[in-house]
């Protein structure tokens, strides 16, 4: 009795100790798993590979002949429980004897003891335990064991024979294999990690290449034997072996269930962290925007020598402009997600900035276009020195995952769209509606509509700083400052428009701008190059190729209100510095030198009109109505690759990793350039609702469809 009570006292004492200990260790291990889940395995991998100076542990084992102890005496820290070769090292510490520290470390709290799941499967187990003991016979046992895997102990016993075999037979070889395996396995994903039995089996298969009968039984003996006793013995042995195998099989199965559970858990954890990244990123964008505004303000002050330390003026401005501006600013704060503290901090500058912007606007209105452009240039100059954080969230989506959708963004099909950076701003235009719609991709909502074009907007491009240039059927090119529209929804559209380029005499079908260069291609069979600094047309390039009878038809057919879908003469255009590439209706891709205004190279191969193209420093990729895309090597001017689809290609875009193609089907076709694999993304293959237009940046894909839907995908 006395020892019983003393035992209770010990356990009570242990309890208090453990609660503190488990707090310390528990929280630490939790941090570990969350912050660097792979760290224990990394350590082991590291140990395995670099076991003391260059020579791999494999080599060392072989040379020194110490088979089983490559890890021994490595680490005796608490966390490395499996490195401690015996209990002595593990429980040893300076404060108490091993028994006490054992009791503390392996203490289970009452709550934990009580927390045993009582699900159906657990009930089955309890029932099974009874039957096991109750000697209900083999059949029943096998059944119940089937119901829910064998016990751990059975697994242990089942794996013993293979272990013994490992030791007795080809000892050295097995160990070597094992070590190789251990390196390979810790390198692999957790799902690949099998268990002891599986590995042994796998090795057996590879070494013997066939299954063998249990020891002492030979096929020829069996077929020649007439002794019932011997045969019965063999039957018994083989049955036993079968049972063993059955257990091993069940073990592996339960292993899989276990891994599934683990994966589920990891997935949950991933979701949590993912949301955290999203939140942080929104906060980042929010702060960055204000940083930008402050810089703009500083710039403005410097430019006009308004540096004034007395607060009188500031206070005045504040008083005049505070009410409405603060309201505006708040209305577009990135919802409640952003840090509360951040809000109060930025509030003060916000007011000033808003007024600064206002004064900027006023001034620029007075000084006219050239000044506005100057302002923009300054702004751009400023941006180059700006620390820019790039959104990375889309990387953590599963490939092919739908990030967001705007259903029926437009009433008719989407003619073109563009976005700047992932989770940034998206602009889109529909066929029957000359307005441009602006969307916020991180908040997943419509922010503004811009009117100004007189007919369908047929092409657009947007840059990082929310500058948008559009070209439409009304033969006009317009340059917009989308930021103004975002900041203030009610602002008249003509204030958002920075400049209108009006020289073309027919529909604009393609445009491209880069730095201060804008090029536009039109149905009037010209390409114009514009200087974005002063809005002047720098040069006009004539496209002169024979299109036969098509010419007159297209001239007549493309009136302002005409909505027929004649394929444009200049289907695609892109400029970079002095280089210009055009894809035209005759299926020929021309490379121009803008300095001389001449074609320097023609790439022939497409058998129908080129509808889209893009180039980088290495490749030019073109898509055509002949159902194919062609990848050209720009250095040699030859065809590098070509892919055919089932329908005409209307739009494509690529980067180093992927080529995305819209070809009037229900899905976006994606070609993975690294893995050389084709797949498709989004929606139903045979959907009526074809993808009309696609834009792709940094793994973030936005597509517009024939019924006006816009979807964003991670690829």
């Amino acid at each position: 009795m006395s020892s019983g009570t003393s035992g209770d006292q010990i356990s009570h004492f242990g309890k208090t100790l453990t609660t503190t200990a488990s707090l310390v260790f528990g929280s630490q291990s939790m941090e570990d798993t969350i912050l660097s889940y792979s760290s224990p395995y990394k350590k082991i991998l590291h140990d395995t590979i670099t076991s003391s100076g260059g020579t791999s542990s494999l080599m060392k084992v072989e040379r020194s002949g110490r088979m089983f102890t490559p890890f021994r005496t490595r680490n005796s820290a608490f966390q490395d429980i499996f490195h401690a070769s015996s209990g002595r090292g593990y429980f040893k510490n300076g404060f108490s004897d091993t028994r006490t520290s054992f009791q503390v470390l392996s203490y289970l709290s009452d709550a934990m003891l009580a927390d045993i799941p009582s699900s159906e499967s657990a009930a089955a187990t309890s029932g099974k335990l009874v039957t096991e003991k109750g000697e209900k016979g083999k059949k029943k046992r096998a059944e119940t064991a089937h119901a829910r895997g064998p016990s751990l102990y059975q697994g242990f016993e089942a794996s013993l024979p293979t272990i013994n075999q490992t030791i007795t037979t080809h000892q050295k070889k097995q160990i070597m294999n094992r070590d190789i395996k251990s390196i390979r396995e810790s390198d692999a994903t957790p799902e690949d990690v099998g268990q002891d039995v599986d590995i042994e089996k796998g090795e057996e298969e590879t070494t013997h290449d066939e299954f063998t009968l249990p020891k002492g039984i030979k096929p020829e003996h069996l077929s020649n034997s007439y002794s019932i006793k011997n045969l019965k013995g063999a039957v018994q042995t083989i049955t036993d072996n079968l049972d063993l195998l059955e257990i091993q099989k069940n073990l592996a199965a339960s292993e899989i269930r276990e891994l599934d559970l683990k994966m589920e858990k990891l997935k949950l954890m991933r979701d949590l962290v993912f949301r955290r990244v999203a939140k942080i990123e929104q906060n980042e964008l929010f702060l960055e925007k204000h940083l930008m505004n402050i810089r703009e303000r500083i710039d403005m002050i410097e430019e006009y020598n308004l540096d004034n330390d007395t607060d009188a003026e500031k206070a005045y401005e504040e008083a005049t402009s505070a009410p409405e501006d603060t309201k505006d600013q708040y209305s577009e704060l990135p919802d409640a997600n952003t840090a509360e503290s951040g809000e109060t901090v930025v509030q003060e500058p916000q007011v000033n900035l808003a007024s600064a912007q206002k004064s900027l606007k006023k001034r620029s209105k007075q000084t006219g276009y050239s000044h506005k452009n100057h302002e923009k240039k300054v702004q751009q100059h400023e941006f180059r020195h700006l620390r820019k954080t790039y959104p990375t969230l889309q990387q953590y989506y599963e490939p092919g995952a739908n990030i967001l959708s705007f259903d029926s963004a437009h009433e008719d099909n989407v003619t073109c769209l563009d976005f700047n950076l992932p989770f940034g701003t998206l602009c889109s235009a529909g066929k029957l509606d000359p307005t441009i719609k602006v969307w916020n991709l991180s908040k997943n909502k419509h922010v503004a509509s811009i009117t100004g074009h007189l007919a369908t907007v047929s092409c657009m491009q947007m840059d990082q700083y929310n500058t948008l240039i559009t070209g439409g059927r009304d033969a006009l090119l317009k340059m917009w400052d989308i930021q103004k529209a975002i900041d203030n929804d009610s602002i008249p559209s003509d204030e958002v428009c920075i400049y209108t380029f009006d020289s073309h005499i027919d529909e604009i079908t393609a445009l491209s701008f880069e730095a201060n260069n804008l090029v536009s291609g039109s149905q009037d069979r010209t390409i114009r190059q514009w200087d974005l600094n002063n809005g002047k047309c720098v040069q006009t390039l004539d496209i002169n190729f024979a299109t036969g009878g098509n010419l007159s038809r297209s001239m007549i057919g493309s009136g302002f209100l005409n909505t027929n879908n004649d394929h444009p003469i200049i289907g695609a255009i892109q400029c970079y510095d002095a280089a210009l590439a055009t894809g035209t209706k005759d299926g020929i891709v021309r490379l121009w030198d803008l300095r001389s205004g001449r074609v320097v190279r023609t790439l022939e191969g497409h058998s129908d009109a080129v509808t889209s193209l893009q180039f980088d420093s290495l490749n030019l990729v073109t898509g055509s109505l002949d159902n194919s895309i062609r990848i050209w090597d720009l250095r040699t001017g030859t065809l590098a690759d070509t892919f055919s689809y089932e329908h005409p290609v209307t739009c494509l875009q690529f980067d180093l990793n992927k080529i995305v193609v819209a070809n009037q089907e229900g899905t976006v076709k994606v070609y993975n350039r690294q893995e050389k694999k084709h797949w498709f993304c989004g929606g139903d293959e045979h959907s009526e609702n074809a993808v009309e237009y696609v834009r792709y940046k940094d793994g973030y894909l936005v597509e517009g469809r024939a019924n006006g839907d816009i979807n964003a995908w991670a690829i």
Binding site: F102, L129, E132, S186, D240
Partner: protein, 155 residues
Amino acid sequence: MSNINFLPTIEDAYGALSAEQLDILRQQVLSEGGDIASIQSRFNYAWGLVKSHDAEDQRLGVKLLTDIYKESPMRRRESLYYLAIGCYKLGEYAMAKRYADALVAHEPDNAQARTLKAMVEQKIQTEGLKGAALVGAGLAAVAAAAGFLLRQRRP
């Protein structure tokens, strides 16, 4: 299934494995990444340790079993049983009793669990008797000595 019981008896906890066997089990756990190794591999190693003659190894084994208990709710009933046996073998009867009690509380119909509990209680009782006997013997000795002294002093 044929030759292997669903759960081990107390005797199964004896009969140590060879050093090679134990080390293979350990290597298996290590190769699967230590803490993130599969439950079965870790149990194999832990049980191998419990079977060992060395009390320190047994302790490590029990500690590993505790970890398994913490980590895998579905295996908790089973683990309780192993834990009880491990502690029993170690001579930690108070701990063994806790586990056995918890096990019986969750599975009142389990004959094996009840046997185990009875065994643990019996052990505690005998230990207690032994302790009491020792104390009693001590007291008797003291009394005898005192009596002897007193008797010597009196005359």
